[in-house]
Symmetry: C2
Subunit: 115 residues, 2 copies
C-alpha cells in the first residue's frame, strides 16, 4: 500500500529529444512495488510540448488540469481537464499545451518496463 500526491514527488526534466518545457513525476512506480504499470505525470507549460513520436507500447492518459492538443494520425484533437486518452502502440502522437497561461498536467500511464 502506498499513498502519495504530486506535492511529495520530485520533478525531473525528462531526456526526450523534441520535448519543450516539460517536467516529469512518477507517483506510482516500480520503486513502490508496482508489478505491471507505472503512473507518471507530465506537466507541460504554456507553449510547451512532448516529442512528436511513436513507440511500441501504449499511453493511458488522464488530464488532471489544463487543456491542450493531442497531435495524432487523425489530426489535432483537443483535450482538456477530465479527458481520458488512449494512445495505442505504434501511433504517432504529441501533446501540446495550447493555453496562454495554465499548465497542462496529465497522468501518462505506461507498462512498467517503459517507466
Amino acid at each position: 500500500m502506498h499513498i502519495t500526491s504530486l506535492d511529495q514527488i520530485e520533478k525531473t526534466v525528462p531526456e526526450m529529444p523534441g520535448a519543450k518545457a516539460v517536467c516529469k513525476q512518477v507517483p506510482l512506480s516500480r520503486e513502490h512495488g508496482a508489478p505491471t504499470f507505472s503512473f507518471r505525470v507530465f506537466t507541460i507549460e504554456p507553449g510547451g510540448h512532448t516529442p512528436l513520436h511513436r513507440h511500441p507500447y501504449e499511453h493511458m492518459n488522464y488530464v488532471i488540469t489544463g487543456q491542450g492538443i493531442l497531435v495524432s494520425e487523425d489530426g489535432e484533437l483537443s483535450v482538456r481537464e477530465g479527458d481520458f486518452a488512449l494512445v495505442l502502440p505504434g501511433e504517432n502522437h504529441q501533446y501540446r499545451n495550447s493555453s496562454s497561461g495554465r499548465d497542462l498536467v496529465m497522468i501518462c500511464a505506461v507498462p512498467i518496463e517503459h517507466e
Copy 2:
C-alpha cells in the same frame, strides 16, 4: 487513439458483494484496444463503500474528486482529491466515502484481464 470523458460513459452498478452505493465506468478498456491495463472509474456516494477484500492483482488509484478512507492492513488511511494510491496484489483493502455530501470519484486501474 481514443479520447473520452466521464459524461460520455455508461454508469453501471458492479456486481461486488459487500459494495454499497458504488457505480462503475470504464473510460479506457479492452473495447478501445487497450493491450495491458484498463482505466475504470468508481463513484462512491456519501456513506458508500467498496468491498473489504483482496485479490491477486494490483489497483492503481487516482482520486479525481472527494475524499475518503482507504481501509488497509496498515489501518484507516485518509485519501482525498489529488492523491495516488497503489494497492499491491494480495493486500486487503476497502474504499469508504467519509464525507457527508460529496461523491468520491476515483480512477481504479487494473490489468486488463480484471477489467
